[in-house]
C-alpha cells in the first residue's frame, strides 16, 4: 500500500462545554474518494475544519502530503482545496471575478491564473455565464462555482463538506458526476455527507461518524457485513400512544434485531423481514397503530447506522 496522502491521528476538538470531536483517526490513500457519513451535528464539519487548518485540534494531529496541520499549516493550505457547505462566494461579484479573486488568494497570477479560471469555469459548466453576478445564479450554479473555487490551484486533496445540500436532483447529479470525473483525473477527495446514497456511490471506503466519534470505517461491503443479512424496515405509523410497549413486543419477535420508534416512524432490522411482515403488522395493529407506509431495504449503510446507533441516519 502506498503512503497515505492524509492521516488523521486521534483528532480531538473541545469547546467550553462540548467535546465536538473525540479521537477521530483515519487514512486516505492518494486518488481515493473517502466519505465521512453521519447525521447533522455528528462532527463532520469540525473534523474537516481541523484538516483545513480553520480550527486548531485540541489534541491529535493530521498529516497531509507530509505536512502537519498543527506545525505547518501554510504548507498544508497549499495542497488542499476546500469546498465548504456554505456558498462561500461574493454575491456582488461575477463568477469570473470571484474565481480571479480566490485565485489570487492562492497566489496565482497572470496567464496561469487566467487559464485556471477558464478551466474551472469549464469544469463547472458555467463558461457562458461567467460574467453574471453570482447573486443571480440558481442554487445549483452557485454550488458549482463554490466547487470551482476549491479547484483553482490544482490541489492534491479536495475537502468537500456536504456540497449537495439544498439543491435540486439535477444539480446534485451533476455535482456527483463532477466529483467522480475529478477523481478519475487523480484528485483525492474527502467527502462529507449525511446522504447514504452519495457516500455509497462515490466512495470505496466510508467512515461513519456519530456524536464526535468514528464508529465504523471500511468499504461498503465491510460495513454492511456488520449488520449481517438484516433488512431495514421503515414503517410509517400513527396512533401509537405507548411506543415502548410496542417496541418490547417487536423485540420479542424472532429475527428482529433492533427496533426503534421516532417521529411516527418505526425502524426495524430484521433477518428475512418479508417473512415476518404479518407478525409486525399484527403487533402494530394490536398497539392501536395505523400503518401509513411500509418499505423494506436490503442491508445498506442506513441499516449499518441504525445497527450501530439505534437511530436513523437522517436524524
Amino acid at each position: 500500500m502506498t503512503q497515505p496522502i492524509l492521516q488523521a491521528q486521534d483528532l480531538h476538538k473541545r469547546y467550553e462545554k462540548v467535546h465536538a470531536v473525540q479521537g477521530i483517526s483515519f487514512d486516505i490513500q492518494p486518488g481515493e474518494i473517502f466519505s465521512l457519513l453521519g447525521p447533522n451535528g455528528a462532527g463532520k464539519t469540525t473534523t474537516i475544519s481541523m484538516l483545513s487548518c480553520l480550527l486548531s485540534p485540541s489534541e491529535g494531529d493530521a498529516i497531509i502530503d507530509g505536512h502537519s496541520v498543527r506545525k505547518d499549516a501554510d504548507a498544508v493550505k497549499k495542497v488542499i482545496g476546500v469546498v465548504p457547505q456554505e456558498i462561500a462566494l461574493y454575491p456582488d461579484l461575477t463568477a469570473r471575478e470571484n474565481l480571479v479573486f480566490w485565485g489570487k488568494m492562492y497566489s496565482l497570477s497572470g496567464a496561469h491564473l487566467k487559464q485556471r479560471v477558464e478551466e474551472t469555469l469549464e469544469i463547472a459548466g458555467l463558461s457562458d455565464r461567467a460574467n453574471e453576478k453570482v447573486e443571480n445564479y440558481s442554487g445549483g450554479m452557485k454550488r458549482r462555482i463554490n466547487i470551482a473555487v476549491g479547484l483553482l490551484h490544482e490541489p492534491k486533496v479536495l475537502f468537500m463538506d456536504e456540497p449537495t445540500v439544498g439543491i435540486d436532483p439535477q444539480s446534485r447529479r451533476r455535482i456527483l458526476d463532477t466529483v467522480l470525473e475529478l477523481n478519475q483525473r487523480g484528485l483525492t477527495v474527502l467527502y462529507t455527507t449525511h446522504y447514504m446514497e452519495e457516500a455509497a456511490e462515490l466512495s470505496k471506503r466510508i467512515g461513519i461518524v456519530d456524536n464526535g466519534k468514528l464508529i465504523a470505517l471500511g468499504t461498503q461491503d465491510e460495513l454492511t457485513k456488520l449488520v449481517g443479512e438484516s433488512d431495514a424496515v421503515h414503517i410509517g405509523i400513527s396512533g401509537i400512544s405507548e411506543p415502548e410497549a410496542l417496541l418490547a413486543r417487536l423485540n420479542a419477535l424472532s429475527d428482529i434485531h433492533t427496533a426503534a420508534y421516532e417521529n411516527e416512524a418505526l425502524l426495524l432490522q430484521a433477518s428475512n423481514a418479508n417473512a415476518h411482515l404479518s407478525e409486525i403488522i399484527g403487533a402494530i395493529t394490536a398497539a392501536g397503530g395505523q400503518i401509513k407506509s411500509i418499505k423494506v431495504d436490503e442491508p445498506n449503510l442506513e441499516a449499518v447506522f441504525l445497527h450501530l446507533t439505534g437511530r436513523a441516519l437522517r436524524d
Binding site: 493550505k77 456554505e86 489570487k104 497566489s107
Partner: protein, 415 residues
C-alpha cells in the same frame, strides 16, 4: 499584495452597491443641500437687492453731510437704498450686528468745516466712516461704491476750484440733481476764493463691523458636517463586513487559503479605509462642483485632514466591530454611535458653544476633531498651522483603535 487585493475587492463591492452608494454619497449631498437652502439659499444669504437698509449718522450737520443725505435719498437710489437718519453712531452700528441694517455712514462732526476752504482759502482733510455687515457680501460692496462715488464727486468739485453750475449740470444724470446743485453752490463759493489743494480733502474709511470674517456660507459648514457624519456610518458598515464574511463563510474560506490572518484583517480594514477615502474625495469634489463649496486654501491641509478623518473613523468602526458579538450587534452599535457622534461632535450644529460634560463627551468623538480641522480650513481659511491639534488627535484615535481592532480580530479568528 493579498492585503491590497482584499482591500480592492471590498472597495469594488461597496461601490457597486447602489444602496450603499446612496448612503455614502447621495444622502450627505442631498441633506446638505436641503439644510443649506433652509439657511439662506445658494447665494450668500442676502435679501434681494432693493431697499438695502442703511442709516446715516450726520454729526456734521453741515452742507456736505446734507449732500450725502440728498444723494442717498435721490430718486435714482430710492428703490435701492432704504435710508434712515440716526443720531447715535454706536446704536446704528449695533443694528448692523443685529442684522437690521446692512450699512451705516457716519459723517463726523465738523466735516464740512474742515473740508470746505474758508474765505482765505485754507482747508483741511476729513473722512466719512462707512460700517458694513460682514454677513452680507453684495450689498456692502454696492453701498461702498455709491459712497465712494459721492465722495469722489465732492473731491472733484473741491479740487477743480472753479466749476460753473452749467458745467455741473451735464453730470446731473450721473450724480443726481442734488449733487449738481451742490456742485453749483460750491463752485460759486470757490470762485470767490483763491486756494490750492495738495491732497484730496475728502477720505472714506470703510469699516466692517464685528469680526473680520468671510460671509457665513451654510454649505461650508454643513457639507463637511454631513460628510463626516455619513463617513462614520459607512465606516461602521464597512467594518461590519468582516463579520458578514464570517457568516457567509468567505472569511473561513480565506483563512483556508495560504493567506495569513494578519493579511486578511489588514485587507478588510484597508478596504474600509480605501472606501472612506474615495467617499470623502467624491464628496469634496461634488460639493465644490454642485454647490461651489470652497474647501479652503490649503490642499495639503485638506489632504491630511481627509486621510486622518477616514483613518480615525475606520479605526473606530473596526474596533467596535471587533468587540461586537455578531453582525447584528455591530450594526446596532455602529448606527447608535454614528448618531451620537454626529450630534455631539458638531456634524449638525457648531460644537464651539458646548460646555461642561457635554463638551468633554464631544471631544471624545471623531466628528468633533474632524469638524474642528475641516472648519479651520473651509470657514476660517486656515492652513496647516491651524489644524495641528485635530491632526494629532485624529492620528492618535486612528492608531489606537486600529491596533486594538487588529489584536482582537486576530484573537477572534484564530481558533
Amino acid at each position: 499584495m493579498k492585503t491590497l487585493e482584499i482591500a480592492i475587492k471590498d472597495t469594488l463591492t461597496r461601490f457597486r452597491d447602489w444602496k450603499a452608494l446612496a448612503g455614502m454619497l447621495a444622502a450627505p449631498l442631498i441633506i446638505s443641500a436641503m439644510i443649506g437652502l433652509a439657511f439662506g439659499g445658494l447665494s450668500s444669504g442676502e435679501a434681494p437687492l432693493q431697499d438695502i437698509p442703511m442709516a446715516l449718522v450726520d454729526l456734521d450737520q453741515g452742507e456736505l453731510g446734507q449732500a450725502y443725505y440728498d444723494v442717498l435719498t435721490s430718486p435714482d437710489l430710492e428703490t435701492l437704498i432704504a435710508l434712515e437718519r440716526m443720531q447715535d453712531a454706536e446704536a446704528a452700528k449695533a443694528r448692523i450686528e443685529s442684522g437690521e441694517l446692512r450699512a451705516v455712514l457716519v459723517i463726523p462732526a465738523g466735516f464740512s468745516d474742515n473740508v470746505i476752504p474758508d474765505n482765505e482759502g485754507n482747508s483741511g482733510t476729513a473722512s466719512v466712516e462707512l460700517y458694513t455687515d460682514p454677513a452680507a457680501s453684495v450689498s456692502p460692496v454696492i453701498i461702498k461704491s455709491i459712497v465712494e462715488r459721492i465722495s469722489a464727486s465732492i473731491n472733484t468739485l473741491l479740487l477743480a476750484g472753479q466749476v460753473s453750475g452749467e458745467q455741473m449740470a451735464q453730470y446731473a444724470p450721473l450724480l443726481g440733481q442734488e449733487m449738481a446743485r451742490l456742485g453749483e453752490a460750491i463752485g460759486a463759493e470757490l470762485q470767490s476764493s483763491n486756494f490750492t489743494f495738495e491732497d484730496p480733502p475728502l477720505g472714506l474709511e470703510v469699516v466692517t463691523t464685528g469680526e473680520d470674517e468671510e460671509p457665513f456660507d451654510p454649505f461650508a459648514f454643513f457639507i463637511p458636517g454631513m460628510a463626516v457624519f455619513f463617513l462614520m456610518f459607512s465606516m461602521f458598515e464597512g467594518s461590519r463586513s468582516i463579520l458578514q464574511e464570517e457568516r457567509r463563510w468567505t472569511l473561513q474560506r480565506l483563512i483556508s487559503t495560504p493567506t495569513s490572518t494578519w493579511q486578511i484583517i489588514l485587507g478588510k480594514m484597508g478596504g474600509t479605509f480605501l472606501t472612506g477615502l474615495l467617499q470623502f474625495a467624491v464628496l469634496v469634489i461634488s460639493s465644490s462642483v454642485l454647490f461651489g463649496v470652497s474647501w479652503g486654501n490649503s490642499i495639503a491641509g485638506l489632504l491630511i485632514m481627509v486621510v486622518l478623518t477616514v483613518f480615525a473613523a475606520s479605526g473606530m468602526g473596526a474596533m467596535l466591530t471587533a468587540f461586537s458579538r455578531n453582525e447584528n450587534q455591530a450594526g446596532v452599535v455602529g448606527s447608535a454611535v454614528s448618531l451620537v457622534f454626529g450630534a455631539l461632535g458638531g456634524s449638525f450644529f457648531p460644537a464651539d458653544g458646548l460646555t461642561g460634560i457635554v463638551n468633554i463627551a464631544s471631544r471624545l468623538t471623531v466628528n468633533r476633531w474632524a469638524m474642528e480641522g475641516l472648519l479651520a480650513l473651509t470657514v476660517e481659511r486656515g492652513g496647516l498651522a491651524d489644524i495641528q491639534l485635530p491632526v494629532l488627535v485624529l492620528a492618535g484615535i486612528g492608531l489606537v483603535t486600529f491596533v486594538l481592532a487588529l489584536l482582537v480580530f486576530q484573537k477572534r479568528f484564530v481558533k
